[in-house]
């Protein structure tokens, strides 16, 4: 269906090609998963399929990319619109209209489809993607997962043979990601659409895909998941565990892994997981007492009690709308609680003048670029030194430690997602607030960047900061958090040491714990550690 024949591509501003001599065929009806580190050319590859590269971006393309026999050399992206549906990374930026139904009909209007056919297809797509309830809703009131499904629906109404998606679930919580992936699965099975998708969150998509394309240094290797994953540098925990235990064939899904697990269980029977060392000093940084908060009549927080200690990394989990973000906002003094008290080192953040808040509590929002105001990284760091009232150069030095590859003249918004997150963290940490709050810090980050962020946060905790992260990322929590607090409906429903809390809940369990439950193993690292002790 999709053919790359000796494709080499280079952007006109760069000397080195992004894609080198690619020869790849993706057969019809396949769900292909594209892997690669940030900056490895995944988006370029995806955009080359419908000719956006090079028609839109400019650049030098050698070789032939063709879809169903139509080459992008002879056809503009608009002439491939009936063949390839492209869903960009941020669905909201692609929306043209305000309502779900209008958005679904828009691409057909552009293609000149007759009104009666449009009517019918909109109905079909609403059913197929489970959007019937939302048909008259404004797009901006939808959740992330719903928006993503509308974006997919709006390209499907043109009845393409190929669907190309750039990180469709990276920014979604597990439930919403599940919805989107289930929809894609259905498209492949029921309609025989060929799907190519790039994704960082492998633990979510691996089990759905038929083949894997791995981009490294501009070159591609492809194969079945179980083969390619033997050596892939990018892999979800289940694969790492499989490799560690030497399972063959390598299990891709949790279910397969569990069936292969009994020998490993036997081996681990005499061991117990190493737990994070809890520091003896328990200096309390923040305390919340009987906190209530409401938006209008809608009660969001209902009597929350929470203590945060120095040196602790606390993960705040719970479904969307459980009150996690609101809790963070109340803690940093952005929202005034209805009842109850907030104390950070004995001070109420709302009583502080705005310029002093940062020295008590720092908040990194979900979109880190909300904190950026300057035109270059260098200027941003200087402005931060002034805000934080610290010596000139402090923020820059922090950034050099956390992200040495970032250069001063770069525009902050031109940084990658991960670099933006690290820069935002530096801007906050420069003022040395004892309490650090992060809202979904790993959204859209790839594994190496996540690991980097984890190390940075662990270092900050060891130097005495108390860190509270609101997150859906169970693997991050398993590796990083010392304590987990689960919220439901505005109340704290569970709180305790990480292994105890997350292994008890199927919703928040990491892959390793799903495979080895009821034992309390949560990370591959723990198991590797235990197996090292095992006499051979």
């Amino acid at each position: 269906m999709i053919r790359f024949d000796n494709v080499t591509f280079r952007y006109s501003t760069e000397a080195e090609p992004v894609l080198r001599n690619l020869n790849q065929e993706i057969p019809a009806g396949e769900l292909a998963l594209l892997l690669g580190a940030t900056g490895s050319g995944k988006t370029t590859f995806l955009r080359a399929i419908n000719g956006l590269v090079p028609h839109f971006t400019g650049g030098h393309l050698a070789g032939v990319v063709s879809v169903n026999g139509r080459s992008t050399q002879e056809h503009q992206p608009r002439e491939l619109a009936d063949l390839v549906g492209f869903v960009p990374q941020d669905p909201v930026s692609g929306f043209v209209t305000d309502l779900v139904e209008d958005e679904l009909a828009y691409s057909m209007e552009c293609l000149g489809v007759s009104p009666s056919v449009m009517r019918r297809r909109v109905e079909e797509i609403l059913d197929l993607l489970g959007l019937t309830q939302l048909r008259t809703r404004p797009l901006r009131t939808l959740s992330g997962g719903q928006q993503q499904r509308v974006a997919i629906g709006s390209v499907l109404t043109a009845q393409p043979l190929v669907l190309v998606l750039d990180e469709p679930t990276s920014a979604l919580d597990p439930g919403a990601a599940e919805e989107v992936l289930a929809s894609l699965h259905r498209l492949v099975h029921d309609l025989g659409i060929t799907v190519v998708l790039a994704e960082h969150r492998l633990e979510r998509v691996m089990q759905y895909c038929d083949s894997i394309l791995l981009l490294e240094g501009g070159e591609i290797s492809s194969g079945l998941p179980s083969e390619l994953m033997q050596t892939s540098p990018i892999a979800p925990p289940v694969i790492h565990l499989g490799r560690l235990a030497g399972w063959d064939p390598l299990p891709i899904s949790i279910r397969d892994a569990r069936r292969a697990a009994p020998p490993l269980r036997a081996l681990l029977a005499d061991h117990s997981p190493a737990v994070h060392a809890v520091s003896a000093q328990t200096q309390q940084i923040a305390s919340l007492r009987k906190l209530h908060f409401a938006y209008g009549n809608q009660s969001v927080l209902r009597g929350v009690d929470l203590d945060l200690d120095a040196g602790e990394i606390t993960a705040l989990m719970g479904r969307n709308g459980a009150g996690k973000s609101t809790l963070l906002r109340v803690l940093v003094g952005l929202k005034e609680p209805l009842k109850g008290s907030v104390r950070i080192n004995g001070v109420d953040p709302r009583a502080l003048p705005a310029s002093d808040v940062l020295r008590h509590v720092g908040f990194v929002p979900q979109e880190p670029h909300d904190l950026f105001g300057a035109l270059s990284v260098g200027a941003e760091c200087k402005a931060s030194d002034v805000d934080a009232r610290c010596a000139l150069g402090t923020t820059r030095a922090l950034l050099a430690l956390m992200a040495p590859e970032v250069c001063d003249p770069t525009h902050p918004r031109d940084l990658s997602e991960g670099q933006q997150m690290l820069l935002a963290l530096c801007l906050i940490v420069a003022a040395k607030p004892p309490l650090l709050l992060l809202d979904e810090p790993t959204r859209g980050l790839d594994y190496p960047t996540k690991k980097k962020l984890g190390e940075v946060l662990r270092g900050l905790a060891q130097s005495g900061h108390s860190i509270l992260l609101a997150t859906h990322d169970v693997e991050l929590v398993a590796e990083l958090a010392t304590r987990v607090v689960i919220m439901g409906d505005g109340e704290i429903v569970a709180s305790g040491p990480t292994p105890a809390v997350i292994t008890e809940s199927p919703m928040f369990a990491p892959q390793v714990s799903k495979i080895l439950a009821p034992e309390r193993w949560i990370t591959v690292e723990q198991i590797a550690h235990a197996l090292e002790e095992e006499p051979a």
Binding site: N6, T13, P54, T57, H60, L61, A62, G63, L375, H411
Partner: protein
């Protein structure tokens, strides 16, 4: 990098339109007393008000043929919307019109072709908001298009010199815009004192003097504050806005060549 590259044929058609445009403004100074325009001087502006839009449409389609892509249209639309929203702010406030900053900076950052289109389209769009649709609109569109075009044709300069150059240009352009815009109705304005009134068929120099006196006594009070505000804004926010526009231009990779090589292998 130019968002809307002007080929030779586009340049020629802009030049031809501008020539007719110049005449549509300046005819009072050159037309003989017995010419058709002078005899019908109260209808003459209407004649041009019909001709100019027709010509503008032709030039638009000429410019847009092949080079006006989705990226340029998106940027054009966004900036024209910004200008259209800013324009009512200036209504009746003694020439406080922030729109010229955007137009001049956009012309500078994105090229003469883009500036030309933005000038005319944004004035058309803002006229819809402010209810300012009338026979003056085609003249305004053409004059604003010249302002944008001129900003894009300014010589190269960097840093402070660029801001200085743009400020100088802005001051001249803002006053010139007011002077030139007086011309469309000046010939048929009635009951003006003799010193500042149009005299059909009088010597060019005489009419020119009368026109300058007319400008100074009537519109200069609007033109100078407009120029002053534009210069101040360019000095204050010119540099960051230029950087923003240039970043947008870079992100859209305007003007990046698209090359297809054959199937031969590149090693």
């Amino acid at each position: 990098m130019h968002a809307v590259p002007l080929g030779r044929s586009s340049a020629i058609s802009i030049a031809a339109l501008s020539l007719i445009g110049v005449f549509s403004f300046l005819w009072p100074f050159v037309a003989p007393a017995d010419s058709f325009l002078v005899i019908n001087s109260s209808e003459a502006p209407l004649l041009f008000a019909i001709i100019i839009p027709l010509l503008l449409t032709t030039v638009f389609s000429q410019i847009s043929d092949g080079v006006l892509n989705a990226k340029a249209i998106a940027l054009l639309g966004a900036l024209a919307a910004v200008i259209a929203v800013l324009r009512p702010l200036g209504a009746g406030l003694g020439g406080i019109e922030p729109i010229w900053v955007i137009l001049i900076l956009a012309g500078r950052a994105l090229g003469p072709g883009f500036g030309f289109l933005l000038g005319s389209i944004s004035l058309l769009a803002s006229a819809m908001f402010t209810g300012g649709v009338g026979p003056w609109l085609p003249f305004q569109m053409l004059a604003a298009a010249w302002v944008g075009l001129g900003a894009g044709l300014l010589p190269k300069a960097n840093g402070k010199w660029e801001i200085f150059l743009l400020s100088l240009y802005a001051a001249i352009a803002c006053v010139a815009f007011g002077f030139v815009m007086n011309l469309w109705f000046w010939p048929f304005s009635l009951n003006l004192p003799e010193q500042i009134a149009f005299t059909p068929g009088a010597a060019t120099g005489e009419n020119l003097l009368a026109w300058i006196r007319f400008n100074i006594t009537t519109s200069l009070g609007f033109d100078l504050p407009r120029a002053a505000l534009t210069v101040i804004l360019i000095a204050l926010i010119g540099s960051p806005i230029l950087q923003l526009l240039r970043r947008a231009s870079r992100k859209a990779s305007f003007g990046a060549p698209t090359v297809f090589a054959g199937v031969e292998r590149i090693s």
